[in-house]
Subunit: 470 residues, 2 copies
Amino acid sequence: MRAHEAGALHGNDAAPTWLPYPADVNTLIDGLWSRGTARAADGAVEVAGVDVRRIAEEVGTPAFVLDEDDFRHRARAFRDAFGEAFRDHAGADVYYAGKAFLCGAVARWVEEDGLGLDVCTGGELAVALRAGFPAERIALHGNNKSDAEIRRALEAGVGRIVIDSLGEIDRVDAIAQQLDLRASVMLRVTTGVEAHTHEFIATAHEDQKFGLSLTAGDAFEAVRRTLSASRLDLVGLHSHIGSQIFDTGGFEVAARRILRLVAQVRDELGYTIDQLDLGGGFGVMYNTQHTPQTPEVLAAGIAEIVVRQSRELELEVPHLSFEPGRAIAGPSTQTLYTVGTIKDVRLGGPHHRLYVSVDGGMSDNVRTALYDADYSCLLSGRVSEAAPEVVRVVGKHCESGDIVVKDEYLPGDVRPGDLVSVPVTGAYCYSLASNYNHVPRPPVVAVKDGEIRTLIRRETEEDLLGLDVG
Amino acid sequence: MRAHEAGALHGNDAAPTWLPYPADVNTLIDGLWSRGTARAADGAVEVAGVDVRRIAEEVGTPAFVLDEDDFRHRARAFRDAFGEAFRDHAGADVYYAGKAFLCGAVARWVEEDGLGLDVCTGGELAVALRAGFPAERIALHGNNKSDAEIRRALEAGVGRIVIDSLGEIDRVDAIAQQLDLRASVMLRVTTGVEAHTHEFIATAHEDQKFGLSLTAGDAFEAVRRTLSASRLDLVGLHSHIGSQIFDTGGFEVAARRILRLVAQVRDELGYTIDQLDLGGGFGVMYNTQHTPQTPEVLAAGIAEIVVRQSRELELEVPHLSFEPGRAIAGPSTQTLYTVGTIKDVRLGGPHHRLYVSVDGGMSDNVRTALYDADYSCLLSGRVSEAAPEVVRVVGKHCESGDIVVKDEYLPGDVRPGDLVSVPVTGAYCYSLASNYNHVPRPPVVAVKDGEIRTLIRRETEEDLLGLDVG
């Protein structure tokens, strides 16, 4: 048991040190909830004017509730912030990273809001094309693209293919040759920088599957080969340094290393690389431990770095692009659950913990188990005057690691039938969802101006059994 | 870098200490592969007489290849071993834990082979009933069963519902009352024992979502309430101590604690509990670190424990049941992948690692990322005389943690288009599969006597897009 000031005050406190005893357990903590989330007059949570009780009644629980205006506001905020920061140079584009969460409606919003779209498989490309997303604003990623995926992307006319290995240069070139067209490509460079949370590591080696190593010379060799390939147009270089990044320290090192490569290419090959994609990975607030910066602060900080370093190397500031996914989709969405079983478990000494079981779990949010992620939650169908208790929100799966929220305070009178909302589940929750224990996947509904619209419908038992043909 | 004898010999060795440099990298290591797996005359791997190249051609890759005879042999081995070990007492039944892997064909095999079936959701129950599995041999588990699931189970006439909390006693009783029938129930007891790999922890407290605490008195209270409920028949007590268990030490402690409760119930309530379910969790061999025992050795060891402890407490030896899932399904299946990109990554110093990308990944096997599991693999479409190299087998997903096999040796000439097999993927791989990056889930095919039969068909892009209605 950790020493904890609130623990001494509140007796049975099993909370981790980062989790303060709440002054008011009914508060919607600033930054954790989508813009349209508020307490209605009677205390229930509403999103974009829609009461969560109405959502539960109309579409059932669990359900992903996406605040459409919030999603689009964040998309436009990134577009504007980076555009503004590089306005006096060659400009900057923002690509939404579809892997975070993608469906037809999201592709259309992103299109309308003037962003590009990252896809990394044929399946994601199919969603984008089906939604009418303009191919020239699509980038295809992937460490192991199949020939079929490359062919499909080239036939559709995607704006760029981000080449990830030396072998892929010849493959894309050959497929472009077969199709009698030219392929616009970027080269993904591994800079050896790894950023996550509030730290980054500027490692010398690069023990991961992505990209072309700078230090080993693969990146320079890839530029050389791409320039001499018959059907490839080198658009620029790409770097992605990690996820849940809260400051620009990692970008400082990565940008310096990649700009040095640009200078080397200029000096040794006489070719000017005039576009850089510095990837995404901008962090979000899952709980009070996280302090994300605004798009404006991030963009200004990165622009300062890129402009200064370009000058030092006597390079024109290249055109930039960035790929936020989590930072757009994540905070837009909350998962709405209904509470079932509640169990008060003694932890030894005076400590105990309420295990609050909900009607979903690791099938709709595997991030807690997969990344040891700390989520938050709130009693959302009502307010309560009961004293806060330390809870662990768990799912209904037959596995002890089936945990949704490891540590949180909820009102001590939380009871079966209550609605609980888990915020910031818009990224990498639905996209990683499974049918573990044959649990159908929840729907994703968009709320806007008091209306509910189903983006992805709830799976049915028939959907699940439909693949079982043996 | 770890000190490693083979490393010194083989220069660029980045293997962990547990992974020996192979004498012959083409060897099918004993215990890792299903009974029907062998090298055909030309060196390719065949399963139940079916060449993996034929499987790849007919159903594509990735694919789960399930050796039907192997699965059924293991199911019958557990049935026979536990039946034999308790033959001179009240006998023992074996329930296959469907959460490991369940489809209609599996339910039918398990039924024909005389085992019971554990389900833990309405979805798993639906699969079983649709396959014609006799309801009286089904047990319904779950820490957070919905009223609908309880009702459906009672209407179907399942053999027992394993009650997991005090609140559930009243709920099952009330639903049985509504349906005007009686419910046979077991009570899941948390003994405070946690077993995994080669260790167990006999903790005093029980910080998890499952079961009724022995130490807190909940378990005894649950027996008392169940006996006084109007519509409940108490079948027995249930305990499950963990997973990947390789010895019987944890069962020694758990059985003693649960038998003491049986004695307490006899002494204080005058009621004889004559059935115990000691759960499952029997370990399998994912790599050479694991040394599972045979069902016969496990059964004999547990029988010795239960018989001795029953005598000490002057109890009749109860009827036992056990719930293997992984140990039946896991080793029956291998995942067949096709190699795409190969990348030689320098790790610093003389060390390097081949990153071998395959056409699946964390969408079809999340266990490596989720549990830090160590899998093995083999070049299965051919043999090779090339010197072994340390490889990491990674998937095609847009995430650096997308790793299938962290550490393995493959022939150094592994190349795009090669088939690679990962053994022991029959449990918790398909059942946890996702559509991450909109990758369709692979098929599960059974092979037997030279024939291929599709149990679960491959998902199509249409399947994936079918839920996207917004």
